[in-house]
């Protein structure tokens, strides 16, 4: 077992730290406050070649795996959680094409997403289908050499700025998950429109938009993998998505911890720094321990993925633990800050609002536990 980074990984990590400190961190709070998609940060990630880390070199990527992708994602979330989440959500469109696309689909859609010229988004969730993917009611109907899509998706991250969408629709709602089919849909396709952008508890600069399909015709060659096999595409994508959520949670938690340990050494009460009180010290110790554990969990899951081993259970474990961890850690960071932590003068209140989302997206904590239990029972069948 070796926890050291390769020279190339170190170089990438150093580069991300540099842009993080110079560019991302100073603007992070303002971006969240303003609530506008941070196009300039995305341009920077594009220039730094950060959108193609696990993508094979033949499609313009760096072929450096998901562990490296995770290291970068954690740092991006640490410096600017909004940018980290856009980076993570982008992979949800990139990965299914990378894993299941034909060479033509990869050339046409994966390459521009790898350079970052196109941003990606993944559309599964509907008003009545989220955790229950089989209940997707967006309908796909074959008409000659095209499929007509009809239906509505909700809460779609990156929707609006994204150019490339991987959309789950059902060929036959009667068949449930066996009718699910994944389509690549380009922004601007007639019949594809954006609905309302949700007003959320946090993440104001991350678009979470409705997608509306009204007789939106998509050529048959834009079916990803095979008709009726969309559930497989969705599950594979969500595996990587869970990894991304764990990564983002660790980055955000680390930012909250760093703010807390700094403040604890500045704030004085009863004639001494509050960091000298054991009550605060124990909080800091627990926070750091949980962050470290979460980091090791996502790194192990990413390593398994890079080794081509099954990683779904480990990714689900990392996701559920890290997402609940980030809620605890950010809440404690606010607690350590006391009154000012509840104000918008300090970033920790934002971190706390943002943290909650990790327990809900990419499969709620309850769904994750279901996945983990399912795997465990399968592995331990008597």
């Amino acid at each position: 077992m070796d926890f050291s980074l390769t020279e190339d990984q170190t170089m990438i990590v150093d580069l991300v730290k540099q842009i993080g400190e110079d560019v991302l961190a100073p603007q992070a709070s303002e971006i969240a406050e303003r609530g506008e998609f941070p196009e300039e940060n995305i341009e920077l990630l594009r220039e730094m070649d950060l959108f193609g880390i696990p993508v094979p070199e033949e499609y313009g990527g760096l072929d450096m795996g998901f562990l490296t992708w995770g290291l970068v994602g954690e740092l991006l979330s640490y410096y600017c959680s909004t940018t980290g989440s856009i980076f993570g959500a982008h992979m949800l469109a990139q990965y299914p094409i990378m894993a299941h696309g034909t060479d033509e689909q990869k050339q046409k859609y994966l390459v521009p997403m790898t350079t970052g010229e196109h941003i990606g988004a993944f559309g599964l969730t509907e008003p009545n289908a989220g955790s229950d993917a089989g209940a997707v009611s967006t309908k796909a109907e074959l008409r000659g050499d095209r499929y007509a899509l009809n239906g509505t998706k909700v809460f779609i991250s990156n929707a609006g700025p994204a150019q490339t969408y991987v959309i789950l629709a059902n060929l036959d709602p009667e068949k449930g998950t066996r009718g699910l089919t994944a389509f690549i849909v380009e922004k601007g396709t007639p019949g594809f429109e954006f609905g309302k952008d949700e007003k959320k508890m946090g993440w104001d600069a991350l678009p979470n938009c409705e997608l509306i399909f009204r007789d939106c015709e998509v050529p048959v060659e834009n079916v990803l993998y095979r008709p009726g096999r969309g559930f497989r595409v969705a599950m594979d994508t969500l595996g990587v998505g869970r990894l991304g959520m764990a990564v983002g949670a660790v980055g955000l938690a680390q930012a909250a911890f760093d703010a807390a340990i700094l403040y604890a050494q500045q704030r004085e009460q009863f004639g001494k720094k509050i960091a000298e009180f054991q009550a605060i010290q124990f909080k800091l110790a627990d926070m750091a321990t949980e962050i470290e554990l979460s980091r090791l969990m996502y790194q192990k899951a990413a390593w398994l993925k890079d080794e081509d081993e099954a990683f779904e259970k480990e990714a689900a474990m990392a996701k559920v633990y890290s997402s609940e961890m980030v809620s605890r850690v950010t809440s404690e960071a606010v607690q350590i800050h006391g009154g000012v932590g509840y104000t918008r003068e300090f970033p920790v209140e934002r971190y706390m609002r943002e943290a909650k989302l990790f327990e809900i997206v990419e499969g709620t904590s309850e769904i994750q536990r279901g996945i983990i239990a399912n795997r465990l029972l399968r592995e331990n069948r008597i």
Binding site: E7, L15, L50
Partner: protein, 260 residues
């Protein structure tokens, strides 16, 4: 246009280690960075070649670890890199350094333009660029903040104490760049990986045919008496009491000290 860019690695910290024997900076094992002004020289070179064609060669004199700054030059778009490195170059002053670099530049075939940073942040002498030009016997323009190509000549804008000056020079010429000349590009991962895998030529005193008595400590008339990091007194004056009284006391103190 064939452009040579001379760059320098400098210690990344004010806590520099000094060799007590020679009173010169110990470079081995000290984290080093590219001299900030030199990044501007590389950017200027790469930009000129992008506009007008040609080749950029980035060169440094230093120990093997100086390779890092050359790789940074390659990542920014330089085509080739040369490390001029020899034990006998150690502890060279500005005269010896410019002698070695001038010989290395001549050794590397024809050149139209030599670009450097205006001065290095560590030594802060700004003597090496003029020294190179003198050794090469070519004109020099210092403190450039703009370079334009006018057929076979260059039009260079200089930043002086209180004014700008625009001069025209024939090539070959040496130009030292002020940091106001441009905003250096930030290379992405692909460029950095490519730069990491590129070959760097290493030349010693034999390959560039320099007299060892003219370089290193032997060829350096400068004697450094003492080098030290300045100490800063951080203890300020403390005013206590009512805020309004304190404010008045601070203002009076500033007036007394003729600061305001």
């Amino acid at each position: 246009m064939n452009i040579m860019v001379c760059v320098k690695q400098i210690p990344d910290t004010s806590e520099v280690k000094i060799d007590p024997e020679t009173n010169t900076i110990v470079r081995e094992g000290v984290p080093s960075v590219i001299n900030p002004a030199d990044e501007h020289a590389i950017e200027a070179a790469v930009h000129l070649v992008e506009e007008h064609g040609g080749k950029v060669t980035v060169m440094t004199m230093g120990p093997p670890q100086a390779e890092d700054v050359l790789r940074q030059g390659l990542a920014m778009g330089a085509d080739e890199a040369i490390l001029v490195s020899d034990r006998c170059f150690a502890a060279s002053d500005t005269l010896a350094t410019s002698y070695v670099l001038a010989n290395a530049i001549t050794h590397n075939n024809n050149f139209d333009l030599v670009l450097t940073g205006k001065q290095a942040l560590d030594g802060d002498t700004a003597q090496v660029p003029p020294g190179i030009a003198e050794h090469l016997g070519i004109p020099q323009v210092t403190s450039a903040i703009g370079i334009e190509v006018e057929e076979d000549r260059l039009r260079v804008k200089r930043l002086l104490e209180e004014e700008f000056e625009t001069v025209e020079v024939p090539m070959p010429v040496l130009i030292s760049c002020s940091s106001q000349i441009n905003e250096p590009r930030r290379p992405g991962i692909k460029a950095k990986l490519m730069a990491k895998r590129k070959e760097i030529k290493v030349w010693d005193h034999h390959s560039i045919e320099v007299e060892s008595c003219l370089c290193g400590i032997e060829g350096s008339p400068t004697r450094v008496v003492r080098v030290f990091a300045p100490t800063f007194e951080t203890d300020g004056e403390r005013f206590e009491g009512e805020a309004s009284d304190c404010a008045l006391a601070v203002v009076n103190r500033l007036v007394e000290s003729k600061i305001i």
